[in-house]
Amino acid sequence: MRTPEGLRWAAAAVLVTFALALPPLAGLVEIVSPDSISANFTVGVLGTSALVLALWAISYNLMLGYAGMVSFAHAAYYGIGAYTVALLYQDLHWSVLPGLALSPLVVGAAGLVTGFISLRAVRLYFSLLTLAISQVGYVIAFEWYSFTGGDNGIHGISPPDFLSNPTVLYYFVAAVVAVCLLIMFGLVRSPFGAALLAIRENRLRAASIGLNVKRYELAVFTISAAFAGVAGALFAIYDNQAFPDLMKWTESAHPIVVTLLGGSGTFLGPALGAAVYTWLANSVGKSLPAQFDIVLGAIVLGIVLVAPGGLGSALDGIRRVAARRRGSREPEEETSDQALGRIDVSKILAIRPVKSHAEHSSGATLLRVEGLSKRFGGLKAVDGVSLNVLEGRRHAVIGPNGAGKSTLFNLLTGQIRPDSGKVVFGGVDITGRRPHQLSRFGIGRAFQITNIFPKLTVLQNLQYSMLAHRGDTVRPIGIADRKYRDEAMQLLEAVGLGPSSRLQAGLLSHGDQRALELAISLALGTRLLLLDEPTAGMSPYETKRAMELVNGVVAQQGLTLLFCEHDMDIVFGIADVVTVMHQGRVLAEGTPEAIRANPEVQKIYLGDIDLDPPQTEAGAGA
């Protein structure tokens, strides 16, 4: 459960009001106690720098909080923004305002190029690559004396006269920051933002619902850099200078720490962190710089070890404890059995999926696999496998350990590429296609361990899947949470998850998560449902109910089912056709009865190794 919407909006309102009222408040304080720091200082230095820091950190959080990317290059973009203004002022004698307007474009371009390079690597290596790139930027700024002024930097940038008053400057900066924040906020609420969240929550699943993950990551990287550039440009305006140290990799720690302080889970969280940080830096930091570092370090350490979600998640933690004391029931305490018991198969049978498949088993070949092979090192995991899956059929693949079933499934879902062979779906050659392309054809995988978006709500899981699948996520405008709400709720009601729609999917019981997966598959218009050992880890009751559910849905909706299982009760209870694999090859195929009666099949399961008793007992040394 997250902090309710109302509370968040209230907190945001407080923050905004405070920001707007800062100059008069500071003036008031100065009148009341003349010994305290001057209003000019408060507004000019603290207030303005806090605003800019907030913008910088929130732009960083687009990557961190919304897309799950950890970059060390954010200082570089800040610096480039500052230099854009500085160089245009110094060399072309432009006023700072056009420089400011140009900065997002310049820095955005830099972000696009460097982001493209950085995204060649993943995870930790991506982060290190951003570090390397930002260092290169720093060295360029430092060394290119003739252009950037070298380690001296560029000084004496004076803003236009109307901005010479600190209070006016403050409101100007506030206005620019507000515009930027509004744009970013609109972005994160839009279907585009929904795609980012899906990617953050479950990269693989995001791909399998139709998102080209790398493209979205590059997009958010570029946008994030552009706004960091605006922050840097504003810095040049209020601090009147630009210098290489702005781009040092250690400076990238600022937005990270600020975001951590305020929490990466909310949009304005980093703004709160910026306010706290600025205040700390200018109180403790000015007088006792060493102590400031220690205090800041201790705070960061404390947050990381105790509440990595920042202040925001600490609040959540407290709420949860309080709720437990009150005795309210937590969803995870319900057992899977109870959860699955709530599923009303008839309700599912009554609804129609997004793409209606009213036609029943037509007997046409939906999936044709020809001579598919995949080798890992010296081992041929899948060796010339061919099979046909007819539309509307329930087709099982069985085989002992190492038979190649999982590899086959990974090949069919695009997770890995085959060495040779062909896969044709609905008449279209889909060999070697990536997962996000396959979902558009209607191939879906379900009942895997990590197949949902844990921190999104149940409703969002469904909505965002639909958005991604229908290609809506390229739109940066609109509110994602309002789209397809009714359709999604209908599906949720049908699988019994109606009451849980606002819960975080990761908190659902096992059985509920499986039901959610099924709902998502239906929402995606899946025609061929692939289940890889769907009942692994389920109790006998869960198994029974889950497979009843699957069976019911598949039968009535005319879906085609291809699954592999070890539980023979399930296989023989559900399947129309059984393919037996052994050591990467297809051994036999036929109706369940035929397979059961096949002596070859019995052999591979029950063993064909017949040992003679050893000649002597003394065999190995004693």
């Binding site: 930790l124 690559l129 790139i133 290169v136 250690t250 800041l296 370090g297 705070i299 350490l301 070890l305």
Partner: protein, 309 residues
């Protein structure tokens, strides 16, 4: 004629002695970098953690050295004492870090580990500032290591030869440790399969602490050795860290050979880069460009192994 002038400027008229000096300078720079990078790499290989505070440990040892050396009139006694005490003290600090902070973070996202160790960077930077002040400190090498060694036409500082000698000794020592001792064998096993090691009766948690202490000791050794050679000041921590990152990435995180080769590459590249006026400004950037290229095409470095989950 301008053309010839440029050629000479670009170093094509370099004499053998200049080349030799450049090589030696590169090797001596590589020596300390190797010490620091090998510690970082070792810790990553076994614990799968990137310790941002690694540079801080180096800096702490450097400041400790200057403090100890300034207690004695004779730099020799102080230096030798520091050579023994500083690594030990910093290793103990490392043990504290591993037990109190890192243990809670194994298996969690890398970002949390980076943030936690970064927090330590802040704490240590502040601590060093409070204890030692913010002034740069300079100490002289011990008497028997001052002066220069003449090789034909060139003279090269004795102390820098000592650095190279020390690095070779440590490299040999690490090799012996890893391949000829029980501890080293356990460390290599931990890099390969810590779960299996646990099931084989080895206290992997304690092993991790030991490895971290060794890594810290190596960083500290680097800090001790660099003190008579360069001014010791705040900012040492991050400067050496980013160089150590570059080396470890290029050579391969978790590989001793990789740290060695990487340090050589970086030391020599920087040294040669500085020699040519045309490139001297960009020599620093070159290392990071190389780091970027490696990350793009072969992220596990020249001698590393791809991570198997």
């Amino acid at each position: 004629m301008p053309h010839q002038h440029c050629l000479r400027e670009a170093g094509f008229g370099m004499s053998a002695s200049t080349v030799a000096l450049t090589v030696l300078a590169g090797l001596s720079a590589a020596s300390v970098l190797f010490l620091v990078a090998s510690g970082l790499s070792l810790v990553f290989g076994a614990l799968r953690v990137i310790n941002m505070a690694h540079g801080s440990l180096y800096m702490i040892a450097a400041f400790l050295t200057t403090a100890i050396v300034s207690l004695f009139a004779q730099p020799t006694i102080g230096f030798v004492l520091a050579l023994v005490l500083a690594p030990v003290a910093v290793a103990l600090l490392g043990a504290l870090i591993e037990i109190l902070v890192l243990r809670r973070l194994y298996g969690r996202e890398h970002l949390l580990q980076l943030l936690a160790t970064y927090a330590l960077v802040l704490v240590f930077a502040g601590g060093v500032r409070i204890v030692f002040g913010s002034q740069n400190r300079i100490i002289r090498p011990p008497d028997f290591l001052t002066g220069g060694v003449s090789l034909g036409t060139i003279t090269f500082p004795t102390y820098k030869f000592f650095l190279m000698f020390a690095a070779l000794v440590v490299a040999a020592g690490l090799y012996v440790l890893l391949y000829r001792t029980t501890l080293g064998r356990n460390v290599r096993a931990a890099v390969a399969d810590p779960e299996l090691l646990n099931a084989s009766g080895v206290n992997v948690a304690r092993l991790f602490t030991t490895v971290f202490m060794i890594g810290a000791g190596l960083a500290a050794l680097g800090g001790v050795l660099i003190s008579p050679d360069q001014a010791v000041g705040l900012g040492m921590d991050t400067d050496v860290l980013v160089a150590a990152f570059a080396i470890s990435v290029i050579g391969g995180l978790g590989s001793l050979t990789g740290s060695f080769v990487g340090a050589l590459l970086v030391g020599l590249a920087t040294s040669f880069g500085i020699m040519f006026p045309a490139t001297s400004r960009w020599s620093l950037a070159f290392i990071f460009v190389l780091m970027a290229v490696v990350l793009m095409i072969r992220p596990w470095g020249l001698f590393g192994r791809p991570e198997t989950n």
